[in-house]
Symmetry: C2
Subunit: 757 residues, 2 copies
């Protein structure tokens, strides 16, 4: 860790230019609006090391899989998030010399991400071609009208005589850095332009997604318009502005962008709609549009802000996490999901993982109306047919569904046998998310509107995936990888076994609910999936009740998997610092053989099913596993915060919180250059609200059991619950919960009932 | 299986052209001489599906590894056998039309591999450009002078007037089909030629191996010389012959090739030596050279022939296997080894696997003087330093050596974690081979001349690879893959544990032998490897004596690994034919979870350590494992033949023999197109000699316990033993062992001592 950004409660600030951290900064300062977004690339040219990246939600390309040794069952394609046409560029030439901060070192460089209003600002002073310029570039992807974006680029000539040539571009000539075979992913469909702006319609190869872009731009010198010239590009269009500006002159370029997808508009209207969007944006102008955008952000913060007093670094961090989650997903489209890197990089594809169900869902449930989280469930329901195909490829039948490890459209993308075929606990997370959603939102009706079908498909999978062990006289699950990916192909992973058994039990409960409350839908859905209770339910119950769970004799400890105690029992504290993270210093076989745990595995089960275990069991397992855990997944510490806080282990909870909250801001693992850890940001929110705040929903009633870490003066968080907006304030004096809006509500704080409103 | 080749005791014959099997035929009819070799490509052009391939022993290219998901410890390169310059081509144009059997369908096509004399012949009749030609092409890679080869191409004009243009080529413009990144592996260094012949000096990229080629060619029509014209090629040289030939005319081209490596000659002499070789070959002429070549083969057959009476298919098969093994490896160069595909294809690289030690060594010990097998040991001794580096990459230290899974020069090439890092039993095979070599050859001195150093390095590896299990109160070995690659990352694989314990015990014995008989060498070697007995030996003994072995309670069955009995216990016979081979029909995770065994694993240990187990234990384990074995490795059936024969299970032994002997000839798995299963051919020899013949060497005395399968009338095999040549004949009347050459010898047949000579 090496902090290079300034601390500020509402802003992320880079003071002074850090070309060696440029890729990281481009990730950290990324902006987006749930529909599209992009890395914080410079508007003008930049020839130093960087990664130019613009991304459009839901648009992907199936890149032909790269594999050393093919295994039966591998998918042929990996759906990649696409580097999309670049609408941010404004090239600048001064007396014939191109502005490029890799060539002209800037002074007073400052990059600011104002999280309160969602605005990226970059300012600097530079000597170029005999002139001194002061430049200020600002942009935002509108949250108020998610099909528009605005760029404002201001140049003040401080000294010298500048012959300026500026080119505002819309350019489809882009490539993915992570393309397996150096293919181009886009093809040009149509483009044109004039001296007011231009448009570009592109289509992805293979998948055929169409995205229409249009832009308009104007330029003034000291308020006087500069004439624009149309400059067609090979794959786009640019407007060129040329002017002379002497010391004291102010040049201003305003650029407005419309960006529309064939998801939302008829393909043959895309050009017209994009042009209209750009024109509307131009008509409203920078100030009004920025105002609307800021209002949209204000509403988001009303639902999701967390205030931490007494620790500005923690304050900045939690807002940074909440900010990026909201930039990534807005919940208005069930075809979108929360990619692990959001709109901040190419790594992992922009696909969805079980992170969404296990980590992101609680965040969206707690900060937005239930409709937002529901979209995440609908996304998976819409992939059910593909999940069944996926299971069939692996040899399952009868409607068994295996949700993919990584996906864009429901098809599996990943191809590492120990993950793709074996990290099947993900399938249980789909069902747990349905349970969690209904528990928190109260929207039981969802069971009849997609829930049951998913529960059924997953239950059928587990029912086939186990086998009866004569030796153990129990159902066993062989050959799995648990959440702890530092173990592969193990038998009887406790978490997976427990989750599978729970899913089968929940399937029975869900079926009973459907029979009682949604018999018509049930009959229709059972016919669709050829389900007859009398054929399958008894087996579900047998497996659920007869599952094998490895345990450490003479203790309350559940064993992560069969044979876990054969390992050399070392503690993470015994490791040399020079060996950590072990995933960078140890060979893979050494990691596999070691006892060390990448992320919560057995403890993930304690997080999901905490009510099943008494505190002593809870504590004994925590004290057994945590010291063996190296937390080399960004998803690990948050679960430990929640559990440690529940057990009253303040020191451990705070230690773990610090590991999760500023992971990207302080670039702990030196990997922010690849993009941000978007999904683990939800874990940071969980850490505060479920961990320190002790928030749970029990029988429809919000419960709080708050802890105030001694390093903080106080904290408060906004919380959405079933149409109401709450604010929970935790101070040394106690916990105050107030109802900001909505109907009166019963809650429980520290075991005491309270009535709000 | 679909037999398309004719049965003949000494020949492989393809009658009628099978373009759909062309790639398979090119593999099956391959010729070589241990130094170089090539697939049975047509001399003239062929535009149908085929794989042109010439290979030079020991010459490889490190192709950049292709991998989907990188794991720490993976090597960066995979050493590939190289498709080398093509010296076989003789293009033919008739009245301007190119002869190409994909375009002019041949009549009376016949391709013959005469295994007795090592000669490839192809003849056919064809209508082309108004003429009918009869063509006969013959070639061989000389076993008498392994730096030369000969091609004879004869055309009889049966009707029509043929204006013939013939081009005898030496062409370096070749590529590997399996290149990961479509790179070229060779660069041209020098070339030239005149009207008598030409030369080509090429160098491999990165590795810098230099290979010099030269050729000469002459042409006659009805015995009258045809004038030659020099035709330079971009990467080679050709001679062009043009003539008119009427019906009844006979055209003959003789081509002689010299092929020399910088392994054997100074680089700056390669061109001259290659030219001299070609000139010498031309001087001796086709008939004399062929005679010398046939004599060399006669000597090989004297050592290695097996005669089976009453079953021509079995007879042909065993000779086919013996023939190819001898073409692949002659034991005159410790830099060479027995690649799994020999000179017959690109697949797997031409690298060496543990197949060499486990399967090929017994063959070469039984059919050649010990010096040949010794080279295979020296090969590994020479790679010891690299094996230590390989272990260091994985985190081992102190001189621990891990021999690679796949290699050319000692560096690991493979990159599949479950194999590369985990299939470590290979390391034990290195030591077992030393033991086996000394036991059979009596050359105990080898221990002091390289043996001990390898034994030490491997022992150090095992000593670190185990860990103490408090739970089991025993040494355990976690995270391995046994010979049965249908299980990955298992704990306590019985075979690996047993082999490791044996290696540690053998290391102690070897050390005692060195102290007693080679103390000077020992002192020098121990100093080199920083070995002090008092630091390490006690731990070896502790591990060797305290190793954990999984077993099935209440039986004599050793369990293949921990948890094996948790699997659903199915038998291979229960599988539908449509599901087999399961590696083509099942997903990888289903294979892993199933009980089915790819190849002998526990039973491989019974093969290695048969004296440790009584017959009842032997039988119980065989009867437990064989029915669970699907034999989807070509290396599986042979071990089962030996064990079944020992147990007197004739029917099973014969069934297994049939699966191994004609694997490639009948193209059982439809994969001969990739090249032949060279190393498993040694298993076929083992099946006959160790299996049916019951050959063992016990305390320096050859023992035989023969069985005559009822499907055969009789069989006899030649055998080399410590400088003597034996012939063992098994007939219904009994077993006759005679001494063909060498000193008198005591042997034991069916438990009865006999004296030979």
């Amino acid at each position: 860790m090496e902090r290079y950004l300034d601390i500020d409660p509402w802003k992320v600030v880079e003071t002074g230019f850090h070309p060696d951290r440029q890729r990281s900064s481009e990730s950290i300062f990324s902006i987006g609006n749930g529909r599209f977004g992009q890395r914080a690339n410079h508007e003008e040219a930049y020839s130093g090391d960087h990664l130019r990246g613009s991304y459009v939600g839901g648009v992907y390309y199936p890149d032909k899989t790269k594999v050393g040794w093919w295994k039966n069952g591998y998918p042929e394609y990996f759906a990649k998030v696409l580097n999309a046409p670049d609408w941010t560029s404004i090239r600048v030439r001064v007396n014939g010399e191109e502005l490029d901060l890799a060539k002209q070192a800037p002074r007073h460089f400052r990059r600011t991400l104002d999280m309160h209003i969602g605005l990226l600002t970059r300012s600097f002073e530079v000597d170029i071609a005999g002139c001194i310029l002061s430049v200020k570039a600002q942009r935002f992807c509108s949250m108020a009208d998610v099909e528009t974006a605005h760029v404002r680029y201001a140049i003040d000539v401080l000294s010298g005589e500048a012959n300026l040539e500026m080119e505002a571009e819309l350019n489809g000539d882009v490539q993915n850095e992570d393309a397996n075979w150096e293919e181009r992913f886009w093809e040009l469909f149509d483009k044109d332009g004039d001296a007011e702006g231009g448009y570009l319609l592109v289509k992805t190869r293979k998948t055929g997604f169409q995205v229409g872009h249009a832009f308009r731009a104007t330029c003034t010198v000291d308020g006087q318009p500069v004439e624009a010239h149309a400059s067609p590009l090979d794959m786009g269009h640019a407007l060129t502005f040329a002017c002379s500006a002497s010391a004291g002159a102010s040049v201003l370029i305003d650029k407005q962008v419309g960006l529309v997808r064939d998801f939302d508009h008829a393909p043959d209207t895309l050009i017209a709609v994009a042009q209209q969007k750009a024109a509307d944006a131009e008509a409203s102008g920078w100030n009004a549009a920025r105002q609307d955008h800021a209002m949209a952000w204000a509403a988001i913060w009303e639902g999701a802000d967390i205030v931490i007093e007494g620790d500005d670094a923690a304050q900045q961090a939690i807002r940074f996490n909440v900010f990026h989650l909201n930039q990534t997903y807005t919940g208005d489209d069930p075809r979108l999901n929360v990619g692990p890197k959001g709109f901040t990089g190419e790594k992992y594809g922009g696909a969805s993982y079980w992170d969404t169900e296990a980590y992101c869902l609680p965040f969206f449930l707690g900060t937005h109306p239930a409709s937002v989280s529901r979209q995440l469930l609908v996304y998976r329901r819409n992939h059910l047919e593909r999940a069944i195909e996926n299971a069939e490829k692996l040899g399952f039948s009868g409607g068994a569904a295996l949700y993919p490890m990584v996906t864009m459209n429901g098809e599996e993308c990943h191809n590492e046998w120990e993950i793709t075929f074996e990290e099947i606990h993900r399938n249980g997370a789909m069902v747990y998310a349905i349970h969690n959603y209904i528990r928190q939102s109260g929207d039981a009706a969802y069971m009849a509107e997609g829930g049951w079908e998913v529960v059924l498909g997953v239950a059928r999978f587990w029912a086939q995936r186990v086998n009866w062990s004569e030796a153990k006289q129990a159902w066993v699950m062989l050959g799995v990888t648990g959440p702890n990916e530092y173990e592969n192909n193990v038998n009887n992973n406790w978490y997976t076994n427990r989750l599978a058994a729970w899913c089968l039990q929940y399937a029975g409960e869900a079926l009973d609910w459907m029979k009682a409350y949604a018999s018509v839908a049930l009959a229709e859905q059972n016919a669709r999936w050829s389900f007859d209770e009398s054929d399958e339910r008894a087996h579900w119950e047998s497996v659920s009740n007869g599952m094998f769970y490895p345990a450490l004799e003479g203790t309350r400890v559940f064993l992560q998997q069969d044979g876990f105690m054969d390992k050399e029992q070392r503690m993470a504290d015994d490791l040399d610092d020079a060996e950590r993270p072990i995933n960078q210093h140890w060979s893979w076989d050494r990691i596999l053989r070691s006892v060390f745990i990448k992320q919560a595995d057995t403890l993930q089960g304690f997080y999901f099913f905490e009510d099943e275990f008494d505190d002593a069991t809870h504590r004994e397992n925590f004290e057994f596993y945590e010291p063996r855990t190296v937390h080399e997944s960004s998803l690990s510490p948050c679960v430990h915060v929640v559990l440690a806080a529940k057990l009253g282990m303040e020191e451990k909870a705070v230690e773990m919180y610090l590991r999760t909250a500023r992971l990207d801001l302080d670039d702990y693992n030196r990997e922010a250059y690849q993009g941000l850890h978007i999904t683990s940001m939800a874990g940071t929110w969980m850490s505060v609200v479920e961990g320190f705040g002790g928030y749970r929903v029990v029988d429809g009633v919000p419960h709080f059991k708050p802890m105030l870490p001694s390093v903080w003066k106080s904290y408060r968080f906004n919380l959405h619950f079933r149409g109401r907006q709450l604010q929970v304030a935790v101070t040394p004096e106690g916990c105050d919960v107030s109802l900001t809006s909505g109907d009166p509500l019963d809650i429980v704080v520290d075991g005491e009932p309270r009535r709000l409103g």
